[in-house]
């Protein structure tokens, strides 16, 4: 079992940590260098965490658990107009990213209003490509409870709703969690209660993801997504030229490869592993709705009968 961790520290000698994690059989998911500081998001084997902790102490860095790393989260707003942006949508997305998630902001075309709000099939499928959807809604309980469930219809992934009033999650149909104190506001969230509410949102998403990971471990994937990511980076050199953030974005059950589907899907399918299998044998390679990118969905053990 791998544990998602985040290292924050200086750039100096950080390669010692990278090498240690790789030697232990862990994976480096993302490195962000900001002048002399670095943030490394990684997966570390649970039983070896103390070794990484020791190394972190030696390098005078800070090691924290990053429960959201290796996931892609859809932050959904009724529209992308100034009523919702940049606050609170960007603030919440930023908090999710700080804990290691990759967020995509999705503004619905006609998600506004009470009676008139709606969601299209395309938007629904796009949201379903993610691990968790966080819907950022407004200030009135009646609106959230009575009207907005229309835009939750058909969402198969776990769904977190945020809004201003305190609402029992049972009252909102189809929602898995609700976080209050985060309504439609027009200023940057920096006051205590607002920050706590955002922390709570991150925590709730983390709990949901942990639950999902637990579910997956009952019928594990036949290959760990980070391993496929590493193979893609080794076998398809073009991925190094991709300028999008996180060219291979990990998800719980697969990944999004930010290469054109028509041009690259054959090569992705033929990625080989030392065990002698090809990626197409153990994963579904699909065309994603996001910019023609490639979506890799790894099959569970129950389908293939083996784990590599």
């Amino acid at each position: 079992m791998l544990e998602p961790m985040m290292y924050e520290g200086g750039v100096y000698k950080h390669n010692h940590l990278v090498e240690l994690v790789e030697d232990l059989g862990g994976y480096i998911l993302q490195t962000n260098v900001m002048q002399t500081e670095i943030i490394i998001i990684m997966l570390v084997p649970m039983k070896d965490i103390h070794l990484v902790e020791n190394m972190t102490k030696k390098l005078l860095g800070v090691l924290t658990r990053a429960p959201l790393s290796g996931t892609e989260i859809a932050v959904v707003a009724p529209t992308l107009a100034y009523h919702h942006l940049p606050h609170p949508d960007c603030d919440i997305a930023e908090f999710l990213r700080r804990k290691g998630a990759k967020t995509n902001m999705i503004g619905l075309a006609r998600g506004v209003g009470a009676r008139v709000c709606q969601i299209t099939a395309h938007e629904r499928n796009l949201i379903n490509e993610h691990d968790v959807a966080v819907y950022i809604l407004g200030n009135f309980k009646h609106c959230i409870v009575e009207n907005k469930p229309k835009i939750f219809e058909g969402i198969k992934i776990p769904l977190v709703v945020t809004g201003a009033p305190e609402i029992d999650v049972e009252e909102i149909s189809m929602a898995d969690a609700y976080v209050g104190n985060l309504g439609r506001i027009a200023h940057r969230m920096r006051k205590g209660p607002e920050m706590w509410a955002m922390d709570e949102a991150v925590e709730v998403v983390g709990e949901i993801l942990d639950k999902e990971r637990n579910e997956i471990s009952k019928d594990p994937l036949c290959v760990m997504p980070p391993r496929v990511k590493k193979e893609i980076e080794d076998q398809i050199p073009e991925i190094a030229d991709v300028l999008s953030p996180l060219p291979v974005t990990l998800m719980l059950k697969g990944m999004r490869v930010k290469l054109d589907y028509d041009e690259f899907h054959k090569r992705i399918e033929n990625i080989s592993f030392v065990e002698g299998v090809k990626l197409k044998d153990i994963a579904y390679i699909k065309k994603g709705l996001l910019k023609n990118y490639i979506l890799v969905e790894i099959k569970p053990k129950s389908e293939t009968g083996f784990i590599i």
Binding site: P78, Y82, G113, R115, N139, F140, G183, I185
Partner: protein, 202 residues
Amino acid sequence: MEEYEKIIVESDEETGADVYNRVIIDVLSDLALGRVLEKVRAYIDVKEPVFIFVALRRYGLPSIRLSDFAEVDMGDYGKNEVAINLLKESYIPQLLNKLWERYGKGNIEHSERNMIIVHTPEYFTEVDILREMVIDEKIAQINDRIMDAMLRIIPEGFRVRYHQLTEEYILFVASEDPIKQEWKDRAFTIRNGLIKGGKDNA
């Protein structure tokens, strides 16, 4: 004491009203309208659904006329021209645009920094017209900002709107359904109360 409050938001849902109060404060301060609006009253009923916004305005700055910042006289003897001697440079861009529009670019001579010569055969009457020409209308800019603020405050889905914008007040009724007379009546009652309160205090 309620009538002295600057912003009051009424709604069945207390939390919603409180957050909306904050939204109104944020939007008004973003657009620097805090001193333009004297009192703001909003009423929100999400069940209907309807959003009513009424605000009393303070009297704004008067329009700027050419004579406020320049001396306008007939040109030299025997020439068909009006001479504008500018005392302040800040309005030159707006002034030139207005002059070009009225007389054509070829008839405007701006060779000296503080002097603009307008060539026109009607110089005798044009002098007076030019003196009274409105160069900068503050009220129009403020009205634009008020409309912008309204669009930011009103819930985005409420696209059916009824509004009144006068020098004294702003009144907005918005919903996603056709506007009902009872909503308008409610808005008028709030407005009348505000205007009466304003006069009593004065």
